[in-house]
Amino acid sequence: MSTVAEHTIEHVHRDDIGSRLGMWLFLFTELILFGGMFIVYAVYRYTYQSEFHLAAKELNTSIGTLNTLILLTSSLTIVLSIVAIRKNNKFLSVFLQIVTMVLAVGFLINKYFEWNIKIHHGLFPGSEILLGKGNGEVIFFGLYYVMTGLHALHVMIGFILIEVMTGYTIKGRINSTNYVRLEAAGLYWHLVDIIWIFLFPLFYLIT
């Protein structure tokens, strides 16, 4: 008994596998959060098929596609930053993390313009123009704002997480032998990417 304890204390004080498993458990709660919304979407898309198609025509496919490419690329840069730190290339790792954050900001800027145009056209929850349309279209835009909005919130949280990780990497708290924090932030970022992979065809590509 005591030998086991001594053995553990003598060596590493952390459990990387446990940390990653914990992160995955948290991601499952995110899966349920968004999963529930996708279920609501499925029911209403089935109920108001033609109105969903009509409403989706208002969305800008080009901005949606651009944002998909941005998020996929940011997923690549964050995973490469982990490879870089494992190879003890601190400079490249920090650089790739910064690129990831720049891409995240790019995504949010696009989202800002996209929402701005919608709101300018009077398409926002509770607007006179929207309330004049059918129930299906009102629900489509309600789901569109809630789901892409919640996703954008996750992009912002991911940005803050990566920013903290960049600080840790610069200070050396994340290094070639201890990079589990960066891995956890990466896992979160990839989940945000996966959610967008489903949001994109379901909202932008149903015309």
């Binding site: 053995h7 003598e10 060596h11 590493v12 990387d16 596998i17 990653r20 498993l21 995955w24 458990l25 499952f28 899966l31 349920i32 999963g35 279920i39 499925a42 029911v43 089935y46 496919t61 596609t65 998909t68 490419l69 996929l72 690329t73 997923s75 690549l76 995973v79 490469l80 982990i82 490879v83 494992r86 190879k87 891995e183 990466g186 896992l187 990839h190 990417d193 996966i194 992979i197 489903f198 994109f200 065809p201 379901l202 590509l205 149903i206 015309t207």
Partner: protein
Amino acid sequence: MSQDHLEHTVEHKPTYGIYILVWLVLMMLTGVTVAVAGINFGNITVATALTIAVIKSYLVLTFFMHLKTETATFKLFVGVALLFLLISIALLFTDYSFL
């Protein structure tokens, strides 16, 4: 003992190449989704879009999220989580008879 443990944690030598390859495939699949959406296949349009989305998610989970090199415990956890999500969707389908 501890040496074994360390080796197990570090696992394979990390390389950039595989991730860039996966990224290229993901970009390509995005192109395919957008192109296919323009063609009207009727009911199977949604199915096509979702199939591509599932393939893309599989690639992200396996490679970017390192499930490929994780232990069986991780795969089991993810499998169970996805199974329960599928069950909730399937139960919903019985209420709304989508077909």
